[in-house]
């Protein structure tokens, strides 16, 4: 029943199906619903941070430009968040690159990929995974990747 109602709600308010990175700030609500997290919003000088938390100690931050485009995401928590949701249409690019990198002598490590404007840095170990992803061509003026923590 609860699931059924949620589906109707999604249609009613017209949430975008694609998740956040590179999408409009409205897509953050899709992630929030999918991940079942609480959300608060913090305003920085020329961008906003949507801070999502849950009871398991997971924190996901989504960074949006004043124009309403999500230019970066970061995460920390006991499990790796569903990156296919969080990276949205960029997940395939990330996955293809990380899987195509030679496994010879590079067996296990964090997944750090640079692919055009897409940077993904996923690391950590069980009980403490950390990472971030951002689009270099979407960073607001004067904002560096240091802001995406």
């Amino acid at each position: 029943m609860k699931i059924f109602l949620s589906a109707i709600l999604l249609i009613a308010v017209g949430l975008p199906c694609l998740a956040a990175l590179g999408e409009t700030v409205a897509s953050v609500a899709t992630d929030q619903q999918k991940f079942q997290m609480r959300r608060q919003i913090r305003q920085a000088q020329n961008y906003s941070v949507h801070i999502m938390t849950d009871d398991n100690g997971t924190v996901i931050n989504e960074f949006a430009t004043a124009g309403g485009i999500v230019f970066g995401v970061s995460w920390q928590g006991p499990v790796i968040p569903d990156l296919s949701q969080l990276l949205g249409r960029h997940f395939g690019t990330f996955q293809a690159q990380v899987l195509s990198e030679s496994k010879i002598r590079a067996r296990r490590r964090g997944a750090v990929t640079h692919n055009g404007n897409l940077i993904v840095e996923s690391g950590g170990h069980p009980r403490d995974y950390r990472g971030r992803a951002y689009l270099t061509d979407q960073l607001p003026s004067g904002v560096t990747q240091e802001a995406i923590q």
Binding site: E101, R105, G123, G124, D128
Partner: protein, 403 residues
């Protein structure tokens, strides 16, 4: 749990009473005190090219598993030793025994999932086995049978919450090992978080489908060391120092217990406690401190920071490994939650310049922005102690690292 917490001080006390070598002794009240049982607590480990014949800096051991309570056993080689996780995962294709499934309160088989950072995952049922290393036995240990596709019984495919768009690890060549032995600081792979709510780790499985479920800690994948009757407060891993060019292989030992026998005393090792929730400590490099650092024998390099911060170029053919033109030397300071610090000196060589025939290196590494992952190269030339959470040792309570 209670036994494990008592084991350290109890043995220490008995050593004083019985001189650590004699038979039983009679204390003042005429109560017979049993002697500390000295058993073989040394499990050989080796770094070599592994089953694929092309690995670098992967630490292997073998494991003997038995149908619980029986002498029906099998020994599986090439199990990766991983201080970054907890619990034993075996690729089911390597398991010839028919092990009993572990079931939940509804009688459904418990399913387990682990996701890796490259988006791959291992999925399969939890089974019970007596698990042996040297003379140490963890009885009826919950272990994961990874990639059980239809043998000996069918098992549902991974739910999407586990696969998350990734690819399943199903073969030794994909994993680089026949299984993963998690001997990190934690007792379970997930712990209390997965006992109180459903998670990505655990599932309740009928013959046709699996759904996420909370699973009590006693039924979660468990670090075998925690289930040994003795020498169960931790372990140490000792590996030889290496030349800059590396070696074809390097042999060492995994010794169970901390301060429980004559071969596992802390000695001069400095105890650095870690976060009991995340297992992390801080690393300071060039004046900046990075929390969230950890030691992981399952990472095959020093993974730290980025090219801009370290001045090390990334290999054009093997990102994110570093490929400096000549070997570079660094120092960093690790600091435990207890403020005890160690200065760590390490080198990074060019991955492409190292002899292709060698598989053990103390000087390979790559990029991992914002923290330090002290991987297997860190272990060479050291004895590294891993104290389990909630344990009691001569160096204090776990969880901690000491070296």
């Amino acid at each position: 749990m209670k036994n494990r917490m008592l084991a350290g001080p109890l043995v220490a006390a008995l050593c004083t009473l019985a001189g650590c070598g004699g038979g039983g002794s009679s204390s003042g009240g005429g109560v017979f005190t049993p002697p500390p049982v000295v058993i073989n607590n040394v499990q050989p480990v080796v770094v070599n090219a592994g089953p694929s014949n092309q690995e670098a800096d992967v630490l292997y051991t073998s494991v003997t598993i038995c149908v619980p309570g029986t002498s029906t056993c099998q020994t599986i080689p090439n199990i990766q030793v991983d201080t970054g996780s907890s619990g034993l995962r075996l690729l089911n294709s390597q398991v010839t025994l028919v092990l009993p499934n572990s079931t939940d309160i509804s009688g459904n088989v418990i399913g387990n999932c682990v996701q890796f950072l490259d988006t791959s995952y291992i999925w399969g049922p939890v089974a019970l086995a007596d698990v042996k290393f040297a003379d140490e036995v963890a009885s009826s240990l919950p272990v994961q049978l990874g990639a059980q596709w239809g043998r000996p019984t069918s098992f549902p495919a991974a739910p999407t919450v586990c696969s998350s768009g990734g690819t399943a690890v199903t073969t030794p060549s994909t994993l680089g090992a026949n299984g993963i032995l998690g001997v990190g600081n934690f007792i379970q792979d997930c712990g209390q978080g997965c006992a109180s709510t459903s998670s990505k780790y655990y599932y309740s499985c009928t013959t046709t489908a699996c759904t996420q479920a909370a699973v009590p800690v006693a039924k979660q994948l468990t670090n075998p060391v925690a289930k040994f009757p003795q020498d169960n407060n931790g372990l140490l891993i000792t590996l030889p120092a290496l030349p800059d060019a590396g070696q074809v292989s390097a042999s060492g030992s995994m010794i169970f217990g901390i301060g429980t026998q004559t071969n596992n005393a802390l000695g001069a090792a400095r105890v650095q406690t870690i976060s009991s929730s995340t297992g992390t400590f801080s690393t300071t490099f060039s004046g900046k401190t990075y929390p969230g650092s950890f030691i992981d024998s399952g990472s095959n390099g020093y993974f730290f920071l980025d090219a801009a911060t370290t001045g090390l170029p990334i290999c054009s053919n093997a990102a994110p490994f570093y490929c400096p033109t000549t070997q570079k030397s660094f120092t960093a300071i690790t600091t435990g939650i207890n403020s005890v610090a160690n200065t760590v000196a390490f080198n990074i060589a060019n991955l492409n310049s190292l002899p292709a025939a060698n598989s053990a290196f103390n000087n390979i590494g790559g990029s991992q922005p914002n923290f330090f992952d002290w991987g297997l190269p860190f272990f060479f030339g050291k004895s590294v102690f891993v104290a389990l959470e909630l344990s009691s040792t001569p160096g204090g309570s776990g969880p901690y690292w000491a070296y």
